[in-house]
Amino acid sequence: MGNPMKIRAAVKEGVTEVKVLMQHNMETGLRKGADGNLIPAWFITEVKAQYQGRTVLEAQFGQSVSKNPYLLFRFKGGAAGEKVSISWVDNTGDSRTDEVAITA
């Protein structure tokens, strides 16, 4: 299920700014653990942002995205109280969706 994301969506002058902080280890698969063995790759591969059921951003991530990925983007439209949802899928098939109401 993954851990909850922190999402903020705020509308100003007809543009909604969305900030997302996902909680994910984003292991590259190239690091060695304390036992000297490689830690398997474990990272988010796809992210999708939706506003009122419409896709406003899609992203594909590789291993070079930092641990606990951060994302900021803006889309036209949005009103206080309307919903923005963010979903991710990682390379193990785990996924998570969180939703937030837009604030003015």
Binding site: V15, M26, T28, L30, R31, K32, G33, T45, E46, K48, Q50, G53, R54, T55, V56, L57, E58, A59, Q60, F61, G62, Q63, S64, V65, S66, K67, P69, Y70, L71, L72, F73, R74, F75, K76, G77, S87, V89, N91, T92, G93, D94, S95
Partner: protein, 160 residues
């Protein structure tokens, strides 16, 4: 390690990798219910060089985007594990933004698809193993533009 165990290990790795891929595809199907999703480009994300990554993304000869792309990165990153990157463009109809780190083991960091109505900018954070160029490719009106900036890394982000 003798030859035989090495072969076994290879086999195990191979099986593991294909299971992983299946899992991704399965989850992909689940998420796909809404609008169609751009596919995770395995070839691009496992590319070891900029050339391979760009060609896997179909961006082989982007135009110079130094004037039309605003790439904001720190000059010096004290911590290579968290390097903030903002790519913005004044070009009309920005459809796609891709971010690469040219000296990382896997050079492609992220690809963003921006539908109409989404502004032509995105901010994220990337890992850098050592001093390298952060490369941004922007697709606007069907054309690709590229720019790059060097970030000096004093402590790498891929240490054990």
């Amino acid at each position: 390690m003798n030859m035989e165990t090495n072969l076994e290990r290879r086999k195990a790795l191979k099986t593991g990798a294909s299971f992983g891929l299946l899992a991704v595809l399965g989850a992909f199907g689940l998420l796909k219910s809404g609008a169609a999703m751009a596919e995770w480009n395995k070839a691009a994300f496992s590319s070891k060089t900029m050339e391979d990554a760009l060609s896997a993304m179909g961006m082989s000869s982007p135009e110079d985007g130094a004037a039309s792309i605003q790439l904001t990165v720190p000059e010096i990153a004290e911590n290579g594990a968290v390097v903030p990157v903002t790519v913005a463009s004044t070009l009309p109809n920005v459809e796609q933004i891709s971010i690469f780190v040219d000296k990382n083991p896997n050079v492609m960091a992220a690809n963003f698809v921006l539908p109409a109505g989404t502004e032509g900018m995105v901010t994220t954070r990337v890992k850098m193993g050592k001093t390298a160029n952060i490369v941004a490719v922007v697709k606007a009106d069907g054309k690709y533009y590229r720019t790059a900036k060097e970030v000096k890394v004093t402590a790498g982000g891929c240490g054990g």
